[in-house]
């Protein structure tokens, strides 16, 4: 080892490193007065830095700072709790409402389907599938993509319903089938006996809030003016398979559908 190679290692040696790879450095130092002097300088510098560290070891912020920070912490927790409680309460209400809504809406759709003797227009669900309103003839906003749907309360952790589109884009080359996973739907109880879901559509409909009360759901007084909107997942045979509640609350989680 020569002096140039030794220089970098001297710092580590001066800092107290006892790494085995420093042995050649120690051997070089035994016969090199210049490097020995440099090591002593580095050791002096290390001693000075450690003395500085010791001199400031007792430096501390003021005692008052802890009190100020704890007061801030209390404020922050207090500000967080009402929001969390409100969200929890709203969540519980919407969970109950969603369950009853699933029953009510599916029953209504089934009844309409049987009594009218007609089947809903089949429209494969694609990334550009518009959302049709079954209950209201007024125009509703297009939902360009499942992921871009309005905020939706996820009401279940059941497996996502896979929807496959087999339709290519008109005027252009056909795209490969695209699977869209739409989550947050509550399977309808009687959908279990239906043929496997192959393709379908999401029909968005407005449900009278008062209809929920008929099924025993307590509606908070401040919720009467809230829109109650639901997405019905209708299969290739026109039969509803699942439902999810769509809430306009801005603090709700966004729909967790994903394109695969």
């Amino acid at each position: 080892m020569n002096c140039d190679q030794c220089v970098q290692a001297l710092v580590d040696l001066a800092r107290g490193s006892d790494a085995a790879d420093l042995e050649p450095v120690r051997a070089h130092l035994a016969g090199c007065a210049a490097c020995g002097q440099r090591l002593r300088d580095e050791q002096q510098l290390t001693a000075g830095l450690r003395a500085l560290a010791r001199a400031t070891a007792t430096s501390a912020p003021s005692e008052a700072l802890e009190g100020r920070l704890l007061a801030l912490f209390d404020e922050q927790v207090a500000a967080r709790e009402p929001a969390a409680t409100a969200a929890k309460s709203a969540g519980a209400w919407w969970m109950r409402a969603a369950a009853v809504l699933a029953l009510a809406t599916a029953g209504t759709v089934a009844w309409l389907h049987v009594s009218a003797g007609s089947r809903p227009v089949k429209e494969p669900l694609t990334a550009s599938t518009p959302v049709r309103s079954a209950a209201a003839p007024r125009a509703v906003a297009r939902v360009p993509d499942v992921q871009a749907a309005p905020p939706v309360r996820q009401t279940t952790s059941s497996p996502a319903v896979a929807v496959r589109s087999h339709r290519g884009r008109a005027g252009g080359p056909a795209k490969p089938p695209r699977a869209i996973v739409a989550e947050g739907f509550v399977p309808l109880p009687w959908a279990a006996g239906l043929p496997d879901f192959d393709r379908g559509e999401i029909v968005r409909m407005d449900i009278p809030l008062t209809s929920l009360r008929l099924y025993g759901v307590e509606i908070p007084a401040d919720a009467w003016d809230r829109p109650v909107r639901a997405d019905m997942l209708v299969g290739q045979d026109g039969q509803p398979r699942a439902i999810r509640l769509v809430t306009p609350q801005p603090d709700e989680t966004t729909m967790k559908g994903s394109n695969r």
Partner: protein, 205 residues
Amino acid sequence: MTDRPLTSVSDDDLMPRIAAGDRAAFAELYRRRRLDVYRFALHMSGAPATAEDVVQDVFVIVMREANRFRAGRSRAVAWLCGIARNCARQRLERDRPFLALDEDSQASGNQRLAPDPDPVADLTRAEGIERVRKAVLTLPLHYREAIVLCELEEMSYAEAAEAIGCAIGTVRSRVHRGRELLAEKLISGAVPAKAPRAAGGRCFA
């Protein structure tokens, strides 16, 4: 959550408690780490008031963002030092236009200490310590960070790399270069009798 006394709970395990709103956990972390953060900020800024502001900034961030701490990715103390580093840089940058040059320095211009025959002979006495402190404050910011973390806070290169957010080799080379600069300043007497307070990104060398 366990019933263990908080004093036996690791820093890393305090973090989720803080995120959940546990006041005692926050107080425990503060009492454990306030000195580390304060000293780091003090060595970086040279100003007790700035250091205290940095401590406040750091722990306000902790109370708001403890849920972002990932125990497997870094240690709490390195995470805290990383926050302290950012806060100190912001403070130094913010305060820079308002920092007055030390009166003595203004009066004497770039006065240098008379070269000492053996300037690094005893840096452990009070005067020597003061010279080292001033020399550290005149280092460029990235060398100063490395020196403060590794030499004054006695972190390993790996811990400092976590705090700074760079490679271990980068920390090592900054420590080496920082030490070279310190030695040059101390040997040449380039440290003013009263060093100006540290400023973000400004090299007084």
